[in-house]
């Protein structure tokens, strides 16, 4: 029997050798990005000169992402791999880092200075990875991407640099516009309650109080007292809306709405926020700028006493 197993393994080895010989593909640079946000960033700088594949599609929680055979092939064939970094990709980031020994692998968060990151004072090595909610921080990742792409395609370097500057300016304009939009909400109403703690950068950048029902880890469910405290907080501050996220279950936030109702405080679900994933490709929310605009429109229209026209969130 042992002999047969040996034969089977040798046969497999041969089959594997012949089937998988890949030749380096000519043509556009193959780039793989982990999240949709990173893919969109790269696409904006590189335009048509490359082909970008995002591993995590619309509505996928990075926590629950499972790699497929196709994803492996994409990673193997990629010329450059971009990922978010700061442990957003969990254990996958470790694999990507190791892959960096034989391929160009870049974490876009690299370009952001340490001091700008939000950290739990007790655990300096574990910063909050949700950097894309502060548009000005996300704008700082543009250079990292442009530099990497320029190195890979030197003949396109000037185009990349130009596009990077344009896109960065576009993002900085967006940052100012978001700031203005959020400032239309009266200070006392500027409190945002979401299902999981993804919006801390947003809160810091745009002067909003942010409360999450769940910690950053999906396992850290809030205790009963946290729930009661949160309900009391909502009632005391007369908060009008809570938000659900496209990539996190609605159930937890529903329990808060129910809790408030029992205390005689009507609270509505302000709408869907895009947190860890963007909207469907092709839809307005399917790119980073559209996603930020949609989030801000949702927040402003739910928390502002005066109805705001969404169209005023200008380009």
């Amino acid at each position: 029997m042992r002999k047969y197993i040996g034969l089977v393994l040798i046969g497999l080895w041969l089959a594997g050798c012949s089937a998988d010989q890949q030749t380096a593909s000519e043509g556009p640079l193959q780039v793989v990005a982990t999240t949709g946000m990173v893919a969109d960033l790269v696409q904006n700088i590189a335009g048509d000169s490359i082909e970008v594949t995002a591993l995590m599609g619309p509505g996928v929680d990075p926590h629950l992402y499972k790699a497929t055979q196709g994803d492996l092939k994409a990673l193997q064939n990629a010329d450059i791999i971009f990922y978010n970094g700061l442990h957003l990709e969990g254990k996958m980031a470790e694999v990507l880092e190791k892959l960096g020994r034989i391929k160009t692998v870049v974490a876009v968060a690299e370009g952001i200075p340490e001091a700008a990151l939000l950290k739990d004072p007790n655990y300096e090595d574990a910063p909050d990875p949700h950097i894309w909610f502060d548009v000005s921080l996300w704008a700082q990742t543009v250079e990292t991407v442009a530099k990497t792409l320029s190195k890979a395609k030197p003949d396109h370097a000037t185009i990349y640099q130009q596009k990077a500057i344009d896109y960065k300016n576009e993002l900085l304009d967006l940052h100012e516009s978001v700031k203005k939009q959020i400032a239309t909400i009266p200070k006392a109403q500027r409190i945002m309650i979401t299902a999981h703690d993804a919006f801390n950068y947003f809160g810091r950048a745009y002067d909003m109080e942010v409360r999450g029902l769940q910690g950053i880890s999906t396992l850290s469910e809030f205790g009963l007292r946290d729930r009661v405290d949160l309900v009391n907080y909502i009632v005391e501050n007369n908060i009008k809306a809570v938000f659900v996220e496209t990539s996190v279950s609605e159930k937890n936030i529903q329990s808060i709405v129910e809790g408030c109702r029992q205390k005689g405080h009507e609270i509505k679900i302000g709408g869907n926020l895009y947190s860890d994933a963007m909207g469907e490709a092709g839809s307005p929310e399917g790119n980073y700028i559209g996603m930020v605009k949609a989030n801000v429109a949702t927040i402003v229209s739910s928390l502002n006493p005066e109805p705001v026209q969404i169209s005023t969130i200008s380009e």
Partner: protein, 304 residues
């Protein structure tokens, strides 16, 4: 080469798990792998609180310690509190998992920490995690070497301990009367199980490991009540499901672990329906003859 690397890694781990699983099934402890997958959580949290990092190495050390502790607790509850093994497993792992959750909410609520993102690997990434020597020589995927090492340790352990494990599994009282320490061999087996589980979690992820401990040996058990034959069949099934599962994943562009376990389940169903001795579609006369076979009435094999 990707296909070969993935199939080889899956086969090596699944043989390790299947061989140990054969004993676990006969000892009514098949779900020990699942128990460990949950019970390692406090180990991960404690390792993080002590080191402040989420590096794989620290996480594996923390997980391995809890793995051994889990199997120790299960044995302890089973022996001292005279609990059935399934109840002992249930009490132990739910308690440890809960402890882990409490530790996270108390000390690490702002840190992304759970088995899924710090411990469980993904079999699809096996070809990406290469072992590169200091001179820059690429030696192939690291997971293959880990899997091979674990398999050799397990085979060594089973070859040395086969007779004693056999005796303590089928007739503990008799084993004790001829001077074999039943507890010692239990702990040794559980130690091997913890080591294999944690190493396999890191390389190929949890679903696959939990299933590999149970499904291939259970399928083999349908076909043979001779322990040695059962173990050989397990080896064959393990390789078969790894190959077919991988190509199913390629065909549907899905999760490789998911596809391998699916194939294992289908194989079990086919054997269950058509097995010559035990299958649903066997002859009536045979049915009455076989009905009395119980694991503890295994024929004595020629012990070598």
């Amino acid at each position: 080469m990707d296909a070969f690397y993935i199939i080889l890694t899956a086969s090596l781990f699944s043989i390790s798990c299947g061989l140990l699983g054969s004993f676990l099934i006969l000892r009514k402890m098949a779900m020990v792998g699942d128990a460990i997958s949950h019970a390692v959580l406090p180990g991960i949290v404690i390792a993080f609180l002590m080191t402040g990092t989420r590096d794989s190495f620290d996480m594996i050390v923390g997980a391995a310690m809890l793995g051994v502790f889990t199997t120790f607790l299960i044995e302890f509850f089973h022996k001292r509190a005279r609990l059935q093994t399934d109840a002992a497993i249930g009490v132990t792992f739910t308690w440890l998992f809960a402890l882990g959750i409490i530790l996270i909410s108390l000390y690490a609520g702002q840190v992304d920490l759970d088995q899924e993102c710090v411990l469980y690997g993904e079999i699809a990434y096996v070809p990406l995690d290469l072992w590169i020597t200091q001179t820059g020589l690429i030696m192939g995927p690291k997971a293959i070497y880990v899997a091979l090492f674990i398999l050799l340790v397990n085979i060594g352990f089973l070859m040395i301990g086969y007779r004693n494990l056999y005796m303590t599994t089928f007739d503990p009282a008799f084993a004790a009367s001829i001077g074999i320490s039943v507890s010692l061999w239990n702990y040794l087996l559980m130690g091997a199980v913890s080591m294999t589980t944690v190493a396999a979690f890191d390389s190929v992820g949890a679903i696959l490991v939990v299933a590999l401990f149970v499904v291939p040996p259970a399928t083999a058990y349908l076909l043979s009540h001779q322990l040695k034959t059962m173990m050989w069949l397990t080896v064959g099934f393990s390789i078969f499901i790894s190959i077919v599962g991988y190509y199913l994943a390629v065909a549907i562009d899905g999760s490789i672990a998911g596809a391998i376990v699916t194939i294992a389940g289908i194989l079990f169903a086919v054997v269950f329906l058509f097995a010559p001795g035990q299958g649903i579609f066997r002859s009536k006369t045979k049915q009455t003859q076989d009905a009395t076979i119980e694991p503890n009435l295994f024929e004595r094999e020629n012990l070598t």
